[in-house]
């Protein structure tokens, strides 16, 4: 009988990092499938290029840092899928690959690798691509166009409704189109209904806490409601929330456990802050896309938010303790 000594507790929750990441990956793969249906095989190749680049780069960086790559670590897959799904299907492969390399080698590993990075690698990779190749990143093909997998892309390219909002117009897409993603846009970010389903799934799986994405969306909606750009009231809210990668980011990017705050209250603060920043980017920024930049900026404030939130919680704990002491002092006897 060979026994081992382990620390308590001796039963463990069955979920692991792998489970968390695979939850995300499953949902992102669903979006990949939808992208395949809309844009053909090129979408899958873009995703594969991004994922393979991210995984290889992650392994290399881990080796360079003197660690052994962990094959169970699925976080580079998530990063690669997020980068791929926020791009148009016609994006050249090198753009995706360089975005993935930037995300892994510049944003993730210099901070210490998985679990240590301050900024979201996916958002950073997309921002990198958007800044370097804005003409390629922000022009989208129409769904169901045939796009050749290799060689020159000849398809007609269109602007996203977000661009229409940016230039001050009102999108002509109707609600059904928007909900089903049947309009030019990023590969994975147009299927609003599917993304909402993903959000619900993640929240009920407890992989994502509702305290993070919902305040974000609520803040975006509130800003839009107060200062509508297109149309009035709910219409403006719908357009704002459904255009671009806002919802996709709220579900998949903002909820990255590594870069988000650790408590519910700080998560809500973080979400609201990121939402307001995202809307400010939309209103005043140079690009029609705002989510990745807002997430990056909010990420920088996460340690601050956490710190003050922790002080707040400490004060609350102290108050509780004092209250209970004051209550039990008359008896002056230990209970147990």
């Amino acid at each position: 009988m060979k026994l081992n000594r382990r620390a308590a507790p001796h039963i463990r929750f069955p979920e692991s990092n792998r489970t968390l990441m695979s939850d995300m990956i499953i949902l992102l793969l669903v979006l990949c499938v939808l992208a395949f249906l809309y844009y053909g095989g090129r979408a899958l190749i873009v995703c594969a290029v991004s994922v393979v680049t991210a995984v290889v780069c992650d392994a290399l960086c881990t080796l360079i840092r003197g660690r052994r790559p962990n094959p169970r670590d699925l976080s580079p897959v998530v990063t690669g899928l997020i980068i791929a799904l926020t791009m148009p299907a016609t994006i050249p492969y090198y753009v995706v690959a360089s975005a993935a390399v930037f995300a892994i080698a510049i944003v993730k590993h210099p901070f210490g690798g998985t679990g240590q990075n301050l900024f979201n690698p996916g958002a950073a990779g997309f921002s990198f691509a958007a800044i370097c190749w804005p003409g390629l990143v922000f022009m989208y093909p129409m769904p169901f166009d045939r796009i050749p997998a290799f060689g020159e892309v000849t398809a007609q390219l269109y602007q996203n409704p977000a661009f229409v909002l940016k230039v001050g117009g009102v999108p002509t897409n109707n609600l059904t189109e928007l909900l089903f993603g049947n309009y030019p846009g990023p590969m994975g970010a147009t299927n609003i209904l599917v993304i909402l389903a993903c959000l619900v799934y993640l929240i009920f799986r407890r992989t994502v806490r509702w305290q993070l994405p919902l305040p974000f969306l609520a803040a975006c909606a509130a800003v839009t409601l107060l200062f509508p750009r297109a149309g009035t009231g709910l219409q403006a809210v719908f357009y704002e929330l459904m255009s671009g990668t806002l919802l996709f980011g709220a579900v998949f990017v903002l909820t990255d456990p590594v870069t988000s705050p650790k408590r519910d209250s700080s998560m809500a603060v973080y979400g609201v802050f990121a939402g307001v920043v995202a809307m400010l980017f939309r209103y005043f920024g140079g690009y029609e896309e705002s989510m990745p930049f807002a997430v990056l900026i909010a990420n920088a404030f996460v340690p601050l938010i956490d710190r003050y939130n922790e002080s707040l919680h400490r004060a609350i704990r102290r108050k509780h303790l004092e209250a209970r002491k004051a209550k039990t002092r008359p008896q002056a006897r230990t209970l147990v």
Binding site: L3, K262, E310
Partner: protein, 869 residues
């Protein structure tokens, strides 16, 4: 409300099938008939609270939920009776039903025990408490058991803790485990002490999971055998599934009154190599509202200062964070261990920093002292060699000094001899000089005499010369006087002649003047007659000139008359002037005459005076000559006298010189004698110097020997000092380490400080099985809980000890392999037949180490299984 604000986790309870099966017994045959040493109780309802407490004490009943003696808990309530007594059957940990099972199978005994405890504690109310979230039970929990209500505790996993909190906040409440109440009832009914305890045996390797009543002191292996293992387990856990300890030596782990479960699991945790991804699940489930994520990171980064703001000491060790962690990190273990190690910091970070600094300083000092010892050893070696060299050098120096002193003495003697000879020569030279001086003095005296003679002769000649000169002068003076007399006579004659010539001249001049006056008168008379004839011719002419008127004639006549009258007057005047000039010439002649007379008289007087002067000069010259003659004579006499005196002086000098020579001769003799004396003294000195040099040489040798001895003693003392310093510094470092690591560590390690125990090899570090096997001490794995330790005082066989060696448990930190001293082993592993012993030991242990967390943590222990990283 209790539980709504609390977080926590929902756990699958796995209480079936153990809970619904019968309560089985697994008792030691020796303990079956054991009774207490007191008369049996007749009527259970007539017992007083004090009697119940003493009964509990005699029965050695231990409350299984916190390991305290029941009697103590009851006695503590005597002063302030609680309002509510809770019989605790809240088995909130999965697999665990060792309280709920006996309660359901033994309701009568449980109720009797609760009634007795209620009376003993003086509680107004009594209840049973069970866990509400039991969904997979095959049996129903009744609402009331023997008249006592059954309270359902709701909430998530650390429900017992939450219930405690809720009760505590609610009111003052006493909680007693159901197992202890059943034991109390048995003690009252059957007069039996506590020899058994209720244990849940479960897990996926157990063939026959059940609640078992096990005799105290059974080994875990026996218990597992009793229930049957369907396959080899990878982990065996004593205690709850959430807070228990995993054991690896089941043969030597005993069942104690606070053992609640023995679980055997098939699966082993494998390290998946995940790092924290910051999913914050631990934060969201922590029932204390702490932030295990931050605390864990603070531990990893050794930022213990953050413990204070993060309230790490509030951790209750429930393990929910570890349970939930998707990266399978041992959060709870790490956090609690760190919090325990840094408990001093909870009060004061500065204190801890000071202790840490002190420890570091002590370590540094110890290192320095070790290094100093090393250096001292080297120095010791070198200093010994140096001392040897110095000794040799001193001896050589002494010999050299001795030789030098000898040489010096020789040299001094030679010098003395030379001096002696030199003194002799000097004396000779002085004598010769004296002789020479004598001769010279005599020659000088002779010369002086001759010179005196010469001087005398010269003086005589000089005196004669002077006299002759004076004579010559006298004669010259007389001649001069004569000459002046004759001159004076001649002068008088000349004056006579001159006076006569002057008289004659004056007579001639008077006659000349009288003739001149007569001539002037005759001139004037002739001038008048010529003027009268001119006037008579002018008248006759004027009268012949008839042309002229009478008036002109008259005027002519009157002019002529007047001219006649004037001529008359001039003649009269010339006559008068002639008379006057004659008178004046006569007067001057007479005065001249008188003057001549006077000059002749004066000349005569002058001649007389000259004669007198010549006479006087002659007299004076004569006197002078006389004086010169006298002087000449006196000088001659003086020269004679001087010569005589020179003769005398010559004699005296000669005598003096002779005397000096004699004195020199005498001095010469004295000097020779003195030089001889000095030489002899130098010889004596030489002997003495030789002797003293020898003495000094011997003294220096002695001194060198002593110095060498002293130096060697100093060197040895320095080495000893360095050794002492090193030892002291090492002790200080150990103390600082102990102080820094805090009280929990010192309590555990305290056994090593018992005097008389063979100290472990210094510096050996963690004690390995090989080091232990020879010594009569028991190496115990994991188990620091005294009541769990055991295996008999005879010591552990070598095989058993070796099972804990680091090679067998590579992942386990070595510090958890502990040494228990023989006393402690003997005390704590007393045979189970004396059923009270473990309880007493437990009480002692409880008194030794008050732990605020002990209350709620079941199977609490000082040291848990270490984490696997």
């Amino acid at each position: 409300m209790a539980g709504f604000f609390y977080k926590g986790i929902l756990l699958q309870q796995h209480k079936e099938p153990a809970l619904s099966r019968d309560l089985r017994e697994f008792v030691n045959a020796d303990t079956i008939g054991v009774t207490m040493d007191r008369p049996p109780v007749g009527d259970a309802d007539s017992l007083t609270p004090a009697e119940i407490a003493s009964l509990a004490r005699d029965a050695h009943i231990v409350d299984e939920r916190d390991g305290q003696p029941l009697a103590d808990k009851l006695a503590a309530c005597q002063q302030t009776p609680p309002r509510l007594l809770i019989a605790d059957a809240v088995d909130d940990e999965p697999y665990l039903s060792s309280q709920l099972g006996p309660l359901l199978k033994n309701p009568a005994h449980s109720a009797l025990g609760l009634r007795l405890a209620q009376r003993a504690a003086g509680a107004a109310e009594a209840q049973f408490a069970v866990y509400k979230n039991l969904t997979d039970l095959d049996i129903r929990i009744p609402r009331k058991i023997e008249g006592f209500s059954v309270r359902r505790i709701r909430g998530r996993y650390p429900a017992e803790y939450q219930a405690s909190q809720a009760f505590e906040a609610d009111d003052d409440v006493l909680l007693i485990g159901v197992g202890a109440l059943i034991q109390l009832a048995r003690a009252v009914l059957f007069n039996r002490p506590q020899t058994t305890t209720f244990v849940t045996v479960a897990g996926d390797c157990i063939g026959n999971p059940t609640n078992l009543e096990v005799s105290l002191g059974m080994t875990v292996a026996q218990v597992l055998e009793r229930c049957g293992l369907i396959e080899d387990p990878a982990r065996v856990v004593v205690g709850g599934s959430m807070t228990g300890i995993s054991v690896i030596d089941t043969e030597n782990t005993l069942v104690t009154p606070s053992t609640r479960a023995v679980l055997a699991f098939r699966q082993d945790f494998k390290s998946l190599g995940f790092g924290c991804i910051g999913c914050s699940r631990c934060v969201h489930v922590c029932p204390k509202g702490l932030n295990p994520f931050f605390i864990y990171r603070a531990v990893q980064e050794k930022r213990y200062a953050a413990f204070r703001t993060l309230d790490a000491q509030m951790c209750i060790g429930c393990g929910t964070c570890s349970y939930m962690c998707p990266a399978k990190l041992d959060l709870s273990e790490t956090v609690q261990k760190a919090a325990r190690s840094f408990k001093p910091m909870a009060g004061s970070i500065r204190t801890n920093a000071a202790l840490l600094a002190k420890k570091d300083a002590a370590d540094y000092e110890s290192y320095l002292a070790d290094y100093a010892l090393h250096r001292a050893q080297i120095d010791h070696r070198r200093a010994l060699a140096a001392a040897r060299r110095a000794d040799e050098k001193r001896r050589g120096e002494a010999a050299a000094a001795h030789a030098a002193a000898d040489r010096e003495a020789d040299r001094a003697l030679a010098q003395a001899l030379a001096d002696h000879r030199a003194a002799d020569a000097q004396a000779d030279r002085a004598l010769a000089q004296a002789l020479e001086a004598n001769q010279a003095a005599q020659r000088a005296a002779d010369e002086a005499l001759a010179q005196a003679l010469r001087r005398k002769q010269e003086a005589g000649q000089a005196a004669d010369g002077a006299f002759a000169q004076a004579e010559r002068q006298r004669q010259a003076a007389e001649q001069a006087a004569d000459k002046s007399v004759s001159d004076a006579a001649a002068a008088a004659e000349a004056a006579d002649r001159a006076a006569e010539r002057a008289d004659a001249a004056a007579l001639k001049r008077m006659q000349a003047e009288e003739k001149a006056a007569d001539k002037a008168f005759s001139d004037a008379l002739k001038a008048q007659q010529s003027a009268e004839k001119d006037a008579a011719k002018a008248l006759a002419k004027a009268e012949r000139n008839s042309a002229l008127s009478d008036d002109d004639r008259q005027a002519f006549k009157r002019t002529l008359d007047e001219l006649q009258a004037g001529a008359e007057r001039v003649r009269a005047e010339a006559q008068a002037a002639c008379g006057e000039a004659k008178a004046a010439a006569k007067v001057s002649y007479e005065s001249e005459l008188e003057k001549g007379v006077r000059s002749r008289a004066a000349a005569k007087e002058a001649a007389a005076a000259a004669r007198q002067a010549a006479e006087a000069a002659k007299l004076a010259a004569r006197e002078t000559c006389e004086a010169a003659r006298r002087t000449c004579e006196a000088d001659k006499a003086a020269a004679l006298t001087a010569y005589e005196s020179a003769q005398e002086a010559c004699e005296a000098d000669k005598a003096a010189a002779l005397k000096v020579y004699e004195a020199a001769q005498e001095a010469d003799a004295q000097a020779r004698a003195r030089a001889l004396e000095v030489y002899e003294a130098a010889q004596r000195e030489y002997e003495r110097a030789r002797q003293s040099a020898k003495d000094a040489y011997e003294a220096r040798l002695e001194e060198a020997r002593q110095t060498d001895e002293r130096a060697r003693a100093d060197i040895e003392a320095a080495l000893d000092r360095a050794k002492e310093n090193a030892r002291a510094a090492a002790d200080a470092a150990r103390q600082a380490q102990a102080a820094f690591e805090g009280r929990p560590v010192t309590v555990v390690l305290g056994g090593n400080d018992i005097p008389g125990e063979p100290a472990p090899e210094p510096g050996a570090g963690p004690i390995t099985a090989e080091a232990v096997s020879g010594a009569p001490v028991a190496a115990e794995a994991v188990i620091a809980e005294p009541a769990v330790a055991g295996g008999g005082s005879a010591g552990i066989p070598e095989e058993a000890a070796r099972t804990v060696s680091p090679t067998d448990a590579p992942g386990a930190p070595l510090e958890e392999v502990e040494l228990l001293p023989p006393e402690a082993v003997a005390e704590e592993s007393a045979p189970a037949k004396e059923a009270g012993e473990p309880a007493a030991a437990l009480a002692a242990a409880g008194a030794q180490k008050p732990d605020p967390m002990r209350g709620w943590r079941k199977n609490d222990s000082t040291e848990k299984g270490g984490d696997d990283r």
